[in-house]
């Protein structure tokens, strides 16, 4: 029987929740990396026991952790447990947390500044890894989206990292400016049908696409309208919170923008709004049903100044029509006095049938639905604030 493993990153450690395919009884493991912020964990699609984790701290900076046994044990790539921590000639091997922006002329146009909150230029400074996206074909290849916004790649299992500098260097970089949460590259989508094509999203710059494996990039924000920036239809500057695609139809993208739920049917060349009858179109998460490419999920949040559900009712909204027509899903979710938020990386789906949907809240609850959203139950209720949720469906 299939199993499900839910990887939960929180403000104070990582938790791993496991269940069989019924998804009723859960085992909870953790906290792993207790006391650290775990921005994201994600497993390799080709080797599910290979899991990467972004462990970060305002005090101690960034650490990359890796598990090769499904999350039971962890190590920093380059320094496996039990092995010498230096090379034979005495050089340190701990490189996994070294993220250095590429300033070479050969691989990208060197960039040193971006726009700061006050409109002046500000140096690019590495702060943390927001998102880890393992390759669809090679367990040793993984991408990292970082703050200040840039894309890095490791081809040796997370030991060493190189920037794909064409993203920052494509031309609009100096116009990017941080959102309230920082200038993070938070979403990385790899096209399953053409892995040279990738999409990334950055707060508050927008969405970008490469068609050559990350060498060159272009902004894909036409159709976005953001009233809070000087030119509401500018090429960049849009606060994109999340994008999602269905693997069977990678040219169709869905977006939760700061305000507005959007859709593109041409790989991001143009976008149209599909907020429809949502009670509020502000929010962070968006995801797609594993088997129905027109079924999508969002969690509407009251506003950008009030980061909690409308009327204290936690409702997931589902559209079975690819947007515009939405229905609230409430069974099993609190419908009074609920004032949590659901952050951008905190929703995921499994690939069982019926599709399971999962999300975590800043109140420490992780909710699961084993029937595509019709009914919900909490797996855990009292974790630290949840930063990210990923799901692995295991044989």
């Amino acid at each position: 029987m299939s199993k499900v493993r839910v990887l939960v990153g929180t403000k104070k450690g990582a938790f791993i929740l496991t269940s069989d395919g019924k998804r009723k009884d859960w085992q909870v493991s953790g906290p792993h990396f207790a006391g650290w912020e775990i921005y994201h964990m994600k497993g390799s699609p080709v080797d599910p026991n290979r899991i990467y984790a972004s462990q970060t701290s305002g005090w101690f900076g960034q650490v990359i952790q890796r598990s090769d046994d499904g999350g039971q044990t962890w190590h920093q790539p380059g320094t496996p447990p039990g092995e010498p921590t230096t090379t034979p000639d005495g050089m340190p091997k701990g490189e996994s947390n070294k993220f250095v922006y590429d300033t070479s002329a050969e691989t990208g146009k060197p960039l040193t500044t971006h726009q700061w909150y006050d409109g002046t230029q500000h140096p690019w400074e590495f702060k943390r890894v927001w998102h880890l996206e393992p390759s669809l074909t090679d367990p040793d290849t993984v991408y990292a989206g970082v703050e200040d916004a840039a894309l890095f790649r490791s081809r040796d299992g997370g030991k060493t990292w190189q920037e794909l500098a064409g993203l920052r260097g494509h031309g609009t970089g100096p116009q990017w400016s941080p959102g309230a949460g920082g200038m993070g590259l938070h979403t990385i989508l790899i096209d399953p049908s053409n892995q040279k094509r990738m999409f990334v999203a950055i707060s508050a710059a927008g969405t970008f696409r490469t068609d050559d494996g990350g060498k060159t990039w272009k902004p894909i924000n036409r159709g976005l309208h953001s009233q809070y920036i000087p030119d509401p239809t500018a090429e960049v500057g849009h606060c994109v919170h999340r994008i999602a695609l269905h693997r069977s139809r990678p040219n169709v993208l869905f977006m939760q923008k700061h305000w507005d739920v959007m859709r593109s049917d041409d790989a991001g060349e143009s976008w149209r709004e599909v907020s429809g009858n949502l009670p509020t179109d502000f929010g962070f998460v968006i995801d797609v049903h594993a088997h129905e490419p027109e079924t999508i999920y969002v969690v509407p949040i009251k506003s950008d100044s009030e980061h909690y559900p409308l009327d204290g009712k936690l409702r997931v909204y589902r559209s079975r029509t690819g947007g515009n027509e939405w229905e609230p899903l409430t069974k099993g979710l609190p419908q009074a006095n609920c004032y949590v938020n659901v952050l951008r990386d905190a929703m995921a789906v499994d690939s069982l049938d019926p599709c399971g949907v999962y999300f975590g809240t800043t109140g420490g609850q992780v909710y699961a639905s084993a029937d595509a959203g019709d009914n919900w139950a909490s797996i855990v209720r009292d974790l630290p604030a949840v930063l990210s949720v990923e799901v692995q469906t295991l044989p």
């Binding site: 005090w59 101690f60 900076g61 650490v63 320094t79 921590t85």
Partner: protein
């Protein structure tokens, strides 16, 4: 031998219990102690000082013999009591938050 006291999170990362004891080639300075610490525990590289600039991370401080050495030049010699192992060199996480 130099004794180094690390914050709990860094002891966990380095997989050590208690103080770290290091052999440091004179002159014993903050830089020399951190170089020796990172050579022995490479997983700590980047967690105390920046990978490239080697600047101290903002929320960490260095203390020894009751003195805050954080703003001293990293090449200032450490007190004799640290050099001879009587007193430890502290890496301390700033109390920050609310």
């Amino acid at each position: 031998m130099i004794r180094v006291v690390l914050p709990a999170h860094l002891r966990t990362l380095a997989r050590v219990n208690g103080d770290v004891v290091l052999e440091v080639t004179p002159p014993v300075t903050v830089r020399a102690v951190l170089d020796a610490l990172e050579a022995r525990y490479p997983m700590l590289r980047g967690t105390i000082r920046d990978h490239v600039t080697l600047a101290r991370r903002p929320f960490l401080r260095f203390f020894a013999c009751g003195e805050d050495l954080s703003l001293e030049s990293p090449d200032t010699p450490l007190p004799e009591a640290v050099v001879n192992g009587q007193e430890p060199f502290f890496v301390i996480g700033a109390i920050a938050g609310g």
